[in-house]
């Protein structure tokens, strides 16, 4: 009844547009999660198979899956096409990251021209989709997949299920296109409590306790369709052959007319021409999967050290945070005034995965001397080896993380090793490795006193005033009277230094035993020469800096 005004030709065209729009939407989303850069060529002459005048390749398996899910239907009210993107670790834990929804609502635009305006707006919407797929958190995750995790997709049709995204998921709208039969909406709901992947993001989000746990919850809806890795080419590996998209699809050759606007000539031809099956470009490599995963994973976990490369030499490390009610100090509800002026919005998108953090670990800090091992640390070394022996053959798959708190130069007891055991918590690798106090972030709190330009200077001042030790007795290291830079804080009613002292050593859970992975210790020691070499390179800078203190 609603579409009696639409000519039958228009109706047919519209249905075709929606169908191919849905298929292209799936291609864009899945290709954006392959982990590779996508590149297609512009062509001044229309080839006839490029729907919506955009060069979007068709991966046959993906089209096959999409068609299977749609089962000949089109998105309609209450029947949405959803592409679910999830992450799966090599140990088999998986977590939903995003749901892309192509929906139809009842709001009709009767006046709009199907073959012309709707078509062009669908093209625009696909361009928006290309842009938006690169700015949600899963994009960066997907670019780094392969070793520790992979990205999977699943297409389903029906009701949108967002419950797997965890609490507080965000939505971004890609766009809408009105048609005579309803309004097409394309949007993405994405998990944000992957926020702990970036320590910066962690500072602004609520404690993650309980958040990692939610993935243990059984999925309320059993998967009606299997998950597929975004970068797994089933067709190549097991010989299954998916019909090439061109075989049976109708090809759209678009012809537009400029004279008089009411006559839009739009021809759609059924073409059975043979084009070579779409070959994904060279940039889409297929990684060999599944082989050395556990090895890689464990070594990456053990080598993954949240070595506190916090700010300057007042490095404050915080224990790796993971589920189970760990009392991680969460002083970071602060929102300082942004440098741009005004209060910065809480970023909705955490930026980076483990690699960014690892890169950060490799970045040497200016002017920081990492003290060599001292007698106190050799004690710990002994503990390390002892417990590592105890570790062998443990029935629990205990992985340990050494957490090294590095306090900068001129401190008597330079290394405090706080070690936490990591039960076999999935995604622990994504937990923040170190958490900087936001107050030490110059981007958030611009220095308010001209003489202290960097936190480095501030904390070195504090080193100068050696004296009373106010360190927590649990520590092996002696805390000199701590005068943190930017320590006056309007938001918290307490001094930053006090705060830091109070929260620097959260009590460990009794349920967690402390074992130390010898391997990570060894790797840490291995990396010391490298670090020393870097600092040696910068020795002139250090010397100059020390000069300024004299």
């Amino acid at each position: 009844a609603m579409d009696t005004d639409l000519s039958s030709q228009d109706r047919k065209d519209l249905d075709k547009f929606i169908k191919f729009f849905a298929l292209k939407t799936v291609q864009v989303i899945v290709q954006a999660r392959l982990g590779e850069k996508i590149c297609t060529r512009s062509s001044s002459s229309p080839t006839g198979s490029d729907w919506f005048n955009l060069a979007i390749k068709d991966i046959p398996e993906v089209t096959h899956e999409a068609k299977k899910a749609l089962a000949g239907q089109l998105p309609a009210v209450g029947r949405s096409m959803c592409v679910e993107i999830s992450l799966k670790t090599s140990e088999g834990d998986s977590m939903e990251l995003e749901i892309w929804c192509l929906e139809m609502n009842e709001k009709c635009d009767k006046e709009i021209k199907v073959s012309y305006t709707v078509y062009n707006r669908l093209s625009l919407l696909l361009k928006s989709l290309l842009a938006i797929t690169r700015v949600t958190p899963a994009y960066r995750l997907s670019r780094k997949q392969g070793h520790e995790y992979v990205i999977l997709y699943r297409i389903y049709f029906g009701e949108v299920q967002l419950s797997g995204l965890g609490e507080g998921f965000q939505t971004v709208r890609v766009g809408t296109v009105g048609t005579p039969v309803g309004t097409i909406t394309l949007s993405c709901a994405y998990r944000i409590n992957l926020a702990f992947m970036s320590t910066r993001q962690f500072e602004r989000t609520p404690p993650i306790m309980g958040i990692i746990i939610d993935h243990f919850v059984d999925r309320p809806y059993p998967s009606s369709s299997p998950m597929h890795p975004c970068n797994y080419r089933a067709g190549e590996d097991n010989g299954a052959v998916y019909p090439s998209v061109e075989d049976s699809q109708e090809v759209c050759t678009t012809s537009f007319s400029t004279s008089p606007p009411s006559q839009c000539v739009f021809t759609v031809t059924k073409a059975h021409f043979q084009t070579p099956p779409p070959v994904v470009t060279d940039t889409l490599k297929v990684p060999v999967m599944g082989l050395a995963f556990s090895h890689q994973l464990s070594s990456s976990r053990l080598s993954y050290q949240p070595a506190a490369l916090g700010v300057g030499s007042a490095d404050m490390g915080y224990p790796v945070l993971f589920a189970g009610g760990l009392n991680a100090a969460h002083p970071h509800q602060l929102i300082g005034p942004g440098k741009e002026g005004g209060v910065p919005p809480i970023p909705s998108q955490p930026a980076h995965g483990t690699q960014a953090d690892q890169e950060r670990i490799c970045t040497p800090l200016d002017g920081v001397h990492y003290s060599a091992a001292t007698p106190s640390s050799s004690e710990d070394t002994e503990t390390v080896s002892n417990s590592s022996e105890g570790k062998c053959g443990s029935p629990h798959d205990l992985l340990e993380t050494i957490f090294i708190r590095k306090v900068g130069a001129f401190v008597n007891k330079p290394i405090n090793q706080v070690t936490m055991a990591n039960l076999d918590i999935p995604f622990a690798m994504f937990a923040p490795k170190n958490v900087e106090l936001e107050d030490n972030d110059p981007m958030v709190n611009p220095p308010d006193s001209p003489e202290t330009e960097s936190p480095l200077q501030g904390s070195l001042h504090s080193e100068g005033s050696s004296g009373s030790s106010t360190g927590n007795t649990h520590d092996d290291f002696v805390m000199i009277d701590f005068k943190p830079a930017f320590s006056k804080d309007d938001i918290l009613p307490m001094d930053l230094g006090t705060f830091y002292r109070e929260f620097q050593n959260p009590p460990q859970l009794s349920s967690l035993s402390i074992d130390i992975g010898a391997q990570s210790m060894a790797e840490d020691l291995d990396s010391l020469p490298e670090k020393l070499a870097v600092h040696e390179k910068n020795v002139k800078e250090f010397d100059a800096f020390v000069e300024t203190l004299q």
């Binding site: 297609t40 361009k127 842009a131 678009t254 400029t258 440098k339 960014a356 200016d366």
Partner: protein
């Protein structure tokens, strides 16, 4: 009949970013390319009886070196070169200006309206994007690392803002006949066809007033002549 003034029907969008000096180019390119992705079509091929067909626009991912960010641009080397040239000049002007490192770069889409002799053709803008840039100086590597991430996050927000505007489906020039196509589109590129556009920039002091006496313009269609 009264003449339409050039500012009628021109929607204006303003985006602001704070970046480090070395991030200026990539940030500007990311925004400009994202806008132009939405404002470029395939090449038109006019046929008999006033019909035309449209070529295909390819796209490609671009990774930034100084920002934790990636964006999609139209696959057209000519277009990329033109944008890089404009952004390079802007960056140099910012650097040489001696001001606080503030400026803005504008991307204006316009239509040409032919006038009768002796009047010259009018350029009527229909969409104006302005990116205000504040260049920050950072003291050490730590801060730079943070800046990489923060600017990346900010650019994600900008892309979402741009897409929001594009989705409003507001005024777009009518699809032109063959004789009019050069009044609406830039037909000089061989592989894609953006709407006619101009890029200009200004260096400002912290009060927002222009300190350069000349406002330099890169006029696309005159370069094409």
């Amino acid at each position: 009949p009264p003449r339409a003034t050039p500012t009628m029907n021109c929607r204006a969008e303003v985006l602001e970013v704070s970046v480090e000096g070395r991030q200026v180019e990539e940030a500007m390119l990311a925004v400009l390319h994202t806008v132009l992705l939405h404002r470029s079509t395939g090449k038109f091929h006019y046929k008999k009886e006033g019909t035309y067909s449209i070529g295909t626009v390819g796209t490609q991912d671009v990774d930034c070196d100084f920002i934790d960010f990636a964006y999609v641009r139209v696959s057209s080397e000519e277009l990329d070169r033109a944008l890089r040239k404009a952004v390079g000049e802007f960056k140099d002007a910012l650097r040489n200006s001696g001001s606080d490192g503030m400026g803005q770069i504008s991307l204006e889409f316009y239509q040409k309206k032919k006038s009768r002799w002796p009047f010259s053709d009018e350029c009527i803008p229909w969409e104006l994007w302005t990116i205000k840039v504040n260049v920050v100086n950072l003291a050490n590597e730590q801060e730079r690392q943070i800046c990489r991430e923060k600017v990346g996050e900010k650019l994600c927000e900008k892309i979402i803002n741009i897409v929001e505007v594009m989705n409003r489906h507001e005024y777009l020039p009518k699809m032109p006949t063959q004789s009019e196509v050069d009044n609406v589109f830039d037909t000089s590129l061989k592989d894609v066809q953006p709407y006619l556009y101009k890029i200009s920039y200004q260096i400002t002091d912290s009060l927002g007033t222009s300190v350069t006496t000349t406002m330099r313009r890169l006029i696309k269609d005159t370069l094409a002549l």
